[in-house]
């Protein structure tokens, strides 16, 4: 409750927005090249059984892009809770090499994706995906989802706070009603957004 609103959706969700506006040689590279490089490194990591030895490369890229390395390491660590459960179960079954591989593989892969997102703004990544043939509608919906995540998230947080002042999220029924209210206001907001887009002359066939 003492965290800022956006942090409730996920810790530090806008940190990539901040990092990706940097101005290093890596930031200025062609986004298509970066996306392809990211996939290449991901596939290399998943295929090569001693790919852990390219860990220093990630540090090198982060340093060249002047992205804070501890922060980046923390972002990539978000993958670990899921991995740790499976690694623990695998280790309990006696398959230690596989448990270790799960840990370093998933962490290194998360590091590659984080590096891409720390050096390329999300909208550029999505545009690049569209140029590679990802359906336009999907790209646009993803844009909108990201754009309104903070807005609807803040609203959900206000609803939650209001429920807490009334005595907490005590019943299933009240939570369902809150969610329905959130749905209704999101629906109305979408209509307002659409009208605002039209009034500003949006002509996109999809709009």
């Amino acid at each position: 409750m003492d965290q800022p609103v956006a942090q409730r959706i996920g810790p530090g969700i806008f940190v990539f927005d901040q990092w990706s506006r940097g101005n290093s040689a890596i930031h200025r590279l062609d986004p298509r090249g970066k996306v392809i490089a990211c996939f290449f490194l991901l596939i290399l990591t998943s295929l090569w059984s001693s790919a852990w030895c390219i860990f220093p490369l990630a540090v090198l890229i982060a340093a060249a892009a002047r992205v804070p390395i501890p922060g980046l390491a923390r972002r990539a660590a978000l993958v670990l809770p899921f991995t740790l459960i499976f690694a623990a179960v695998t280790a309990l079954m006696g398959d230690y090499p596989r448990a270790a591989a799960l840990l370093w593989r998933s962490y290194l892969s998360a590091l590659w994706v984080s590096l891409l997102m720390a050096t390329t703004p999300l909208e550029v990544v999505l545009e690049t995906a569209a140029r590679f043939g990802v359906p336009r509608l999907l790209v646009e919906v993803t844009h909108f989802t990201w754009r309104y995540l903070g807005v609807i998230g803040a609203q959900a947080w206000r609803l939650k706070t209001a429920a807490l002042t009334r005595g907490g999220e005590r019943s299933f029924h009240i939570s369902a009603a809150s969610l329905a209210v959130l749905f209704a206001s999101s629906y109305a907001r979408a209509e307002r957004i659409h009208r605002a887009m039209l009034s500003r002359g949006a002509t996109g066939e999809n709009a």
Partner: protein
């Protein structure tokens, strides 16, 4: 259950990506063709809504609580194609920004949650809509969407060699059943509130004649995913299925050709032969139903 990178072997993630990519594109085309004015902002805002909805906890007694997953709710309000697109957009953002699910594993996650999850959430509603069991359809939809996604996820992990002992698998199935029940209850409660506020928000599925088809497809999906999970609980059998269809379970065999002892394997293993045949049959049935449905709908509209 978002699978990160590094869990799935190359054949598993690559084949699921090859399956999800065209399916997602087909759903996008379908959603686009049925696109009314202002649908793109609506779909985007609904994506944000599903994210934000996770903040609202649903108490289930003794201090425990759950939250909405959303596939069934979206399918009932936006229609299945648009719901699949919105769920895919959510998974893309989760993979890129939240490190929740990998980028190579995105195809698998999209298949489990945005395609199979949304269809499993939609079909029961589709079957029972227009009858008095409409709310039961929504409940089963919510329940099945969670169960099917989880079963597929665990099956894919097992196919990639990430196995769990039977007890752990049993516990996780129990946990997923509870999550599924909760999802069903939340979906019903929220749709109930929404119906009171504005019935226009809930889509009544159009085209009454294809109910039997939806039932068949739903049954096939549930059978296939539970069969998949059961197979993954029997490691030996699964390993052989994996070898049989060329999905070798170990890293060093990633690019290896299908096993040379293919013939003996099939002959020696009547159970396996039946299981493979069963799965293949289910797949073919689903395909046949789909084509038949397409043909009937075209024939009707002609």
């Amino acid at each position: 259950m978002h699978i990160p990178d590094g869990f799935l072997t190359t054949p598993v993630w690559a084949s699921l990506a090859a399956l999800s990519l065209p399916s997602a594109a087909a759903f996008a085309r379908k959603a686009q063709s049925g696109l009314e004015d202002g649908r793109v902002p609506l779909m985007g805002v609904m994506g944000a809504f599903v994210f934000a909805a996770q903040m609202i906890n649903f108490p289930v007694g003794i201090g425990a609580s759950g939250h909405l997953v959303g596939s069934a709710l979206l399918a009932a309000t936006l229609g299945p194609a648009a719901a699949a697109v919105v769920m895919t957009a959510i998974l893309v953002i989760q993979a890129l920004i939240f490190q929740d699910g990998g980028l190579l594993a995105l195809g698998a996650n999209v298949f489990n949650m945005a395609i199979a999850g949304v269809l499993a959430g939609y079909w029961p509603y589709r079957i029972l809509s227009g009858t008095r069991g409409r709310m039961a359809g929504l409940f089963f939809g919510g329940f099945l969407s969670v169960i099917v996604s989880a079963a597929l996820c665990l099956g894919e992990l097992a196919l990639s060699g990430v196995r769990m002992p039977a007890q752990v698998l049993g516990i996780s199935v129990l946990v997923f059943s509870v999550t599924g029940l909760l999802e069903g209850l939340i979906t019903v409660a929220v749709i109930g509130s929404l119906t009171r506020m504005n019935p226009r928000w809930i889509r009544e599925p159009a085209g009454e004649g294809r109910r039997a088809l939806a039932l068949l497809a739903c049954a096939a999906l549930v059978l296939a995913s539970t069969g998949f999970l059961v197979a993954s609980a029997l490691p030996d059998g699964l390993e052989r299925v994996a070898g049989l269809v060329g999905l070798a379970g170990h890293e060093r065999a990633v690019l290896a050709a299908p096993l040379p002892d293919y013939d003996t394997l099939v002959i020696d293993n009547p159970w396996l032969r039946r299981a493979t045949a069963g799965l293949l049959g289910l797949g073919l049935t689903t395909l046949a139903c789909f084509l038949l449905g397409k043909w009937i709908s075209r024939w009707r509209s002609a």
